[in-house]
């Protein structure tokens, strides 16, 4: 009951935070001839007021894309599906790869492999994407074979594989490092030594003694993992020119007539919805892992 109450209280808080983040570009402005900074409070408050007023009239759900006026509700469906697909697929595949490879790395003594994984983890997401794109361009210019499409030129020929790979690499890498580290710590516990002394097999100990004690840490880290993925989603959709939810924020936010407050608020809320859905899916997925391995 208490938890439900807390959730209910949090929702207005979240909404307030979104409204505030979206107001930042209006609030902080350059003054006359660009040599001072002024805080445009009145403009900020006016946008928030207009947003609430516009909900009733439907004005808050119309926006300019370039110079054409569009309806938010007609557009959001396909945008939402694209983003949801990439985040969900990246999270699920990435987590699976992450747990399996992480277990292996936790056990193995291949230090160089760990170093490679850690190094990739230190690189910013956009660097990895640029290098992947460059690799494809390079292969194409050397052999004439275009392995994957580097960016979406039109909606009929979207780039699919490369964005998907980019969305998987990051969570997989994060998971691998996390699982390997926790695995190593768990394997130094005394109950593992005890199980070993009882003559249980290595595979059995790893999966039925160690893994159940690693999974709670993974579950506790899901928010961080998804946070990284949402940042990655922006970069992926931007660099591959995809039509997802984040397009509302980076392209349509600054349309022909300037900054559009309404579309940013709606976009941010859709982004949070994607986050919440994938979080629940991922949690259920990990619960499945627990069902198999926890006795």
């Amino acid at each position: 009951m208490l938890k439900v109450a807390k959730t209910v209280i949090a929702i207005p808080g979240l909404l307030a935070f979104v409204l505030l983040v979206a107001v930042l570009p209006i609030l902080l402005q350059l003054g006359e001839n660009g040599s001072s900074i002024r805080l445009n409070w009145s403009g900020g408050f006016a946008s928030i007021r207009d947003y609430f007023a516009g909900i009733g009239t439907g004005e808050s759900f119309r926006f300019l894309s370039g110079r054409t006026e569009r309806s938010f509700w007609e557009q959001i469906g396909s945008f939402f599906n694209v983003s949801l697909f990439y985040v969900a697929a990246g999270a699920l595949i990435g987590t699976t790869i992450g747990i399996l490879v992480g277990i292996y790395l936790g056990l193995s003594r291949a230090e160089w492999l760990k170093r490679v994984v850690e190094f990739i983890g230190a690189l910013p997401d956009f660097v990895i994407i640029l290098l992947l794109q460059f690799l494809v361009v390079y292969i194409a210019s050397e052999t004439g074979i275009v392995v994957f499409r580097v960016a979406s030129l039109s909606t009929d020929h979207p780039a699919v594989m490369l964005p998907l790979i980019s969305m998987i690499v990051l969570p997989a890498n994060y998971m691998i490092r996390n699982v390997a580290q926790q695995m190593k710590m768990t394997l130094s516990e005394d109950y593992i030594g005890f199980a070993k002394a009882r003559g249980l097999g290595k595979t059995y100990i790893v999966f039925f003694h160690a893994l159940p004690n690693v999974l709670p840490f993974i579950k506790a880290d899901l928010h961080k993992l998804l946070g990284i993925m949402m940042g990655n989603l922006f970069i992926v959709e931007y660099l591959f020119n995809m039509h997802g939810v984040t397009k509302l924020l980076y392209a349509d936010a600054f349309a022909y007539e300037g900054y559009q407050y309404d579309v940013v608020v709606n976009g941010l809320l859709s982004l949070l919805a994607v986050y919440a859905i994938v979080f629940i899916v991922l949690k259920l997925f990990l619960r499945g892992w627990e069902k198999v391995f926890v006795r």
Binding site: K6, A10, L14, V21, L27, L28, L30, R115, L123, A276
Partner: protein, 306 residues
Amino acid sequence: MNKTLLTGLLITALLLAAALFGSYFAPHGLDEQVKRQYIPSEQGVGRIISPPLAPGADYPFGTDKNGYDLMAKLLDGAKYTIFLSAGIALARVGIGGILGMLMGYYSKKTPKRVRTSSSWSVLNGIPVFLIAWFALTGITINTNLSPLYMSILLGIVLTAVGVPSVVSVVKDKTMVLRERQFILASHSLGAGHWKIMRSHLVPHLKESLMILLVQEAILVLSLFGQLALFNIFVGGTTMYFDPPEYHSRTNEWGGLIGQARTSLYSHQWILFIPLACYILLIVGFHLVANGLEKLFKKRYVKASHF
């Protein structure tokens, strides 16, 4: 001998030296521009020099589309990239470390092995760079404020968005430390809060804070790059209209990468040489962090049973 740490420090020192003294040794200045020209030869077949020039003997890193030396630009921007990222990381860890330690020490809760989450965690869905971007977008483009002033402003924004995560990390560590026996012993011997913090908590946190500092510097660097993709450059963006073009005022490395993003298919060096320098810096920082971790780990970690 800790090779990782040594290599990391060496790379960082090299780049630091380049940032400080590089401009004195650079073959070309910042204002030198290669103009389009036709050089006739004796056979009657002339040669056209037209920027961008590919990397060669005269221009080791090549020139950009407007004929400016890329090496001079990189050396000029290095100051901003290195010192600003280090400065922001220092501010984040300094402020976050103190706040986190105080909050962890005075917290009423007992430390849990596994963190629990609340509905507020959904806010993770809004990426940090988006908040920084929105805060800076109104003031960065075509500003008349000085690049240094704009860099400090960006520094304040990036510090503000980064402090919370540092606080939570340090708070967790402090809460675990607080439960240790030597704190209890010190307390029962009559030590005050201030004494316990100064001579027990700080020395124990020092090592993690050092590692955190380098890791934060890497995070700041990646934020520079991400913001640059969306045309928010460190020190301000100059925007030209018809066709829209964005130029970094400080030649900060993230900015050089961001403004050259269209060079993926042709004139690739304009994109990949700054990118290579940027990756080298991250590798340097990463090796320092790993080396430090290795150095400190030797003292505490138990061995695996397998």
